[in-house]
Symmetry: C2
Subunit: 346 residues, 2 copies
């Protein structure tokens, strides 16, 4: 698990050494040959202590550390995850992502090949999301003091004047829209980790959502009250966060929530409830009732919103709680994830 199995067969010239974290010539070589080589751009190449950007308007700012294990998984790797995760956090407040920072904590012994694969992924995801990495940092720690590679990305986005999308704005009567099927990222990681193979490989849904959000805001800026990407803790936890922040109740329909058949099968085998499993390319939007159908149509025209559907609504009762109408009929409480379900899923 982790990097240790990947070190086999690599000589000392092929792996990261502690000296690559010195700040001296070996650090410079690492930065120039391995990192800038992939993600070079004018702002980053200046190598000053901070990147300087021209700003127009209101700024959104976010950060996330990624410690996913394994580093490479079906449908992505820690690099793609880091870029998409930060882009998505910006998109969830309606911001247009502009630039990212990228900070690496590398365990001595990480094969350069793995680092190269991850950096190529960072580059590819940046192109997809139309963002640039403009500043970065690299630290190396001794063997046994990290787990291959941790990445922390922060992001800056610009927010249109007047836009106020927040976890606090869900209102009674609003519809809860889910952009697509759930639980794919978590199942992909767990399958990779446990060495499971199913008849169909489950692929992480990891993707940058800013294009979909752009399509949604083009449809209507006023209609979208809240957006969240249901990552760690899954859809159940995200809905609980919204219910709590907005002080409203949420009712969802179990039968309306799309779960792919192979994902449902894998969840059963792994003993997981898809509602609590992480997604990395899906969003939940709380949308004004009268505009929900038009919004669904706008979302379905985007590749990442093909399966968008209404899964529930905001109610004035049961403030702070999430209820689910089950397939069997009765309504049950959907609690926030307690304890640990899937460690190191992102």
């Amino acid at each position: 698990m982790g990097i240790h199995t990947q070190v086999n067969g690599y000589g000392s010239d092929d792996v990261v050494l502690l000296a690559h974290g010195s700040g001296g010539t070996m650090s410079h070589e690492l930065v120039e040959k391995r990192l800038l080589a992939q993600i070079s751009n004018a702002a980053l190449d200046r190598l000053d202590d901070s990147a300087v950007l021209n700003s127009a308007t209101r700024i959104a700012f976010t950060t996330d550390s990624y410690v996913v294990s394994p580093i490479l998984f079906p449908g992505g790797d820690i690099g793609r995850l880091a870029v998409c995760g930060t882009v998505n956090d910006l998109a969830m407040v309606g911001a247009e992502p502009v630039c990212l920072s990228l900070a690496l904590i590398i365990e001595e012994g990480l094969p350069f090949h793995t680092l190269d694969v991850v950096m190529q992924s960072v580059h590819k995801a940046c192109v997809e999301a139309k963002v640039r990495v403009v500043t970065g940092d690299t630290k190396v720690v001794n063997r046994g003091k990290a787990d291959g590679l941790f990445i922390t990305t922060s992001g800056i986005g610009f927010v249109q004047e007047g836009l106020d999308i927040s976890g606090r704005r869900a209102k009674t009567g609003d519809k809860v829209i889910l952009s697509g099927s759930i639980a794919e990222h978590g199942v992909a990681i767990m399958s990779a980790r446990e060495g499971l193979s199913f008849s169909t490989t489950v692929i992480s849904d990891c993707a940058p959502l800013n294009g979909l959000v752009c399509a949604m805001l083009a449809q209507s800026t006023d209609a979208v009250h809240t957006m969240r990407d249901p990552t760690r803790g899954g859809l159940a936890t995200t809905l609980n966060e919204i219910a709590s922040q907005s002080r409203v109740g949420i009712v969802i329909d179990e039968s309306a929530i799309p779960v792919r058949q192979e994902v449902r099968a894998a969840c059963e085998m792994l003993g997981l409830d898809p509602l609590y499993v992480a997604n990395e390319g899906k969003l939940v939007a709380v949308v004004a009732e009268e505009q929900a159908e038009d919004m669904i149509e706008a979302m379905r025209r985007h590749p990442l919103g093909n399966d968008a559907t209404i899964v529930g609504e905001i109610i004035s009762e049961k403030s702070g709680r999430v209820m689910m109408r089950t397939r069997m009929g009765p309504t049950r409480l959907v609690q926030m994830l307690a304890g640990e379900l899937l460690p190191r899923i992102c």
Copy 2:
């Protein structure tokens, strides 16, 4: 070394568990009770995926990961270091630091007490530097997959219109100013790590430099061509970076570089050259010749610039190289740090 010695004596209620990284209720408890409790503010408390700020002007953006070992050291800890380091990176391009992000990677088993000490330090350093943490993230990894606590801070600052302070702007004839005595941070860490005690404890110089930079820019915005804080790799590496980026030569005077006596003694005992030892509260400025004396006076009026002095100058020969006039007389080449001197110094 590291966290393992600190775990002794703590029960399982007193330490971070893997479940604190789940994204569920335990994560929320950790964030609310341990983290927000220390650094609460309106932007951060919204707990949306991104903080939204009103922006005036040009933005500076920077990031750094901190992996210092030990986490607590004479004169500071990883929390103070993370805030000061990011504030200083912003200050080095002449930006006024405005807000920070704070991302924690915690090893399961970290005592809450250590986390509390670090978060108090984060708060205190933020007050000192007049910045706020507006967004953050927390991940927990299994025991043995990190080393107690890693912190990644990113920062946003605003830059005055027309200001262009960069590693590329050092010009022939410019003076090289050092804000104070060198090598204190590195020696403090090494002493703590090796369990050394000297007659006088060496304290890390870790401090936010934005106040000093503000005083310098109040003196003159045009005079300051380049600023850098000589962290990893020390003064020697920083000067080499400037020489290389600006395509100039730099000559420094060994006798002009302030090194405290206890630091010099410790360096001799540890076999270190102070020129290569990290600083966390000092800056190097490359300043127009005719304004260098006035700048020194302005710096000396600030507590962190009391010992500011001219240590060298920019020359047109020896492009990309740093030369030092030694106490003994002859001039020698000062190379960039090669390999690893002091791992995990920041």
